[in-house]
């Protein structure tokens, strides 16, 4: 049976992608950030999964206002990097895992999560920047990736609790797949940032770090945080953090297993407008 080996959490700031694409990773501004991901890249090489289930949000890229799915699972064979207005990022095409994705879709829809199944989709920086941060800039990504997009753009967005419970259902689905795959689940976006209005530039280092503590040690409590707290404390785009709860809800301890091992933790301000947080949790 397939098994979730670890969960990875990281912000997915577009400027990080731009720094990579334009060769600025060694600029003094960017050095501390990329240094924080060096242990993650070593870890990733040592712990290579067979599939990554990657939770992210589409930033008005694949989904316009014509159709806004709350949860969308990518079941296609491949997903091309999107043109977000600057031309497509020069990164590899993402290879999907249609069989596992379909299996997860079937399982969680029958568990009362009302997914939208997507068979054609371009993927934006929300998905590709985390891959760069953990895998560098290879000619091909190291394994298939199942993109899972969450609406955090137009309100109402799903609650933290809903995301957490979805993580539990995804875990159950993956663990019932009849092939011995090592699967990682990633939650991306956040942490504190606001990209709009006179309050743009808000960063809340204390709140971010307290939230990381809670996510690690007491995910139930993290799942109970209401939307308004994210907006008020972590800026309007801080709401992206609900996506981390999907990954956290899929870990063994939530289903009665042992607490995960914290393999890496990193926090850095700023990357462009954003407080960058990053965790790696391993199932034991």
């Amino acid at each position: 049976m397939a098994k979730i080996t670890a969960s990875v959490y990281t912000s997915h700031v577009p400027a990080i992608g731009a720094a990579i694409d334009t060769g600025k990773t060694t600029d003094p501004y960017w050095v501390p950030l990329f240094k924080g991901y060096e242990p993650s890249r070593s870890w990733m090489e040592a712990s290579k999964p067979d599939v990554i289930f990657l939770v992210y949000n589409d930033h008005a890229t694949a989904f316009s206002l014509e159709m806004i799915p709350t949860f969308a699972i990518g079941c296609a064979a491949e997903f091309k990097p999107a043109d977000e207005g600057y031309g497509p990022r020069p990164v590899p095409t993402v290879i999907g895992h249609p069989e596992l994705a379909s299996h997860i879709a079937q399982s969680v829809i029958q568990d009362d999560f009302d997914l939208t199944i997507v068979n054609k989709m371009d993927v934006d920086h929300g998905l590709t920047v985390p891959l760069n941060l953990l895998c560098g800039s290879p000619d091909a990504w190291p394994c298939p990736v199942i993109p899972f997009a969450v609406n955090v753009v137009q309100y109402p967005v799903p609650s933290g609790r809903r995301c957490y419970n979805l993580g539990k259902a995804i875990r159950k689905a993956i663990e019932s797949y009849d092939e011995a795959l090592k699967v990682q689940i990633w939650g991306t976006g956040g942490m504190s940032h606001q990209l709009q209005g006179p309050r743009a530039g808000l960063i809340n280092r204390e709140w971010d770090n307290a939230w990381l503590d809670t996510l690690i040690a007491d995910p139930e409590a993290a799942a109970a945080v209401p939307h308004i707290d994210y907006v008020r404390e972590a800026g309007s785009e801080g709401i992206e953090l609900v996506m981390w709860l999907i990954a956290r809800g899929a870990m063994d301890d939530v289903a009665g297993g042992p607490a995960p091992k914290l393999a890496h933790r990193f926090y850095h301000v700023p990357a462009s407008n954003t407080g960058v947080g990053h965790l790696i949790l391993e199932n034991q």
Binding site: A18, D83, G85, S192, R199, L202, N204, S272, N273, G275
Partner: protein, 143 residues
């Protein structure tokens, strides 16, 4: 309105909800069109003519022409859509975000390097933080 909006008391912040989405539908869909290189070229060649192809209000068109993102947001725009205009202009997200604060690009960048805008005084409308209406515009204009 029938929608419950607990987020109305956060200063300097517009939550993109169904009401905003309805107001900004054509503005945001215009922005989406800039994800195609051909459309970006046509827009750059004659912005007004390109805008006139869309069912946008005159206010929305003027706000786009003026690159007044705060005004665009007031008229229903969402930053992830509006970012396509910035991308077309070759602007970064930091430049776009900063443009809404009344600060210069340098002031905004410096604020971010120093750890960003503090949440203190900026949680509720009526406090005394720098994002409150009575401190607008922020940055340069000290008169």
């Amino acid at each position: 309105m029938a929608l419950d909006k607990p987020y109305k008391d956060v200063p300097g912040t517009t939550i993109f909800d169904a009401d905003q989405s309805r107001k900004g539908y054509h503005l945001n869909q215009f922005c989406m069109s800039l994800m195609k290189a051909d459309n970006r070229a046509r827009f750059k060649a004659d912005e007004r003519a390109y805008l006139d192809e869309w069912l946008m209000t005159e206010d929305q068109k003027q706000a786009v022409l003026a690159r007044d993102l705060n005004r665009c947001i007031a008229l229903g725009g969402n930053i992830y859509f509006l970012a396509k205009i910035g991308a077309t202009d070759g602007k970064s997200f930091q430049q776009m975000a900063g443009s809404m604060t009344g600060m210069s690009e340098e002031q905004y960048r410096d604020m971010m390097i120093k750890g960003g805008r503090s949440v203190e005084g900026n949680r509720y409308i009526g406090e005394d933080g720098d994002a409150q209406a009575h401190h607008q515009p922020q940055g340069g204009k000290k008169d």
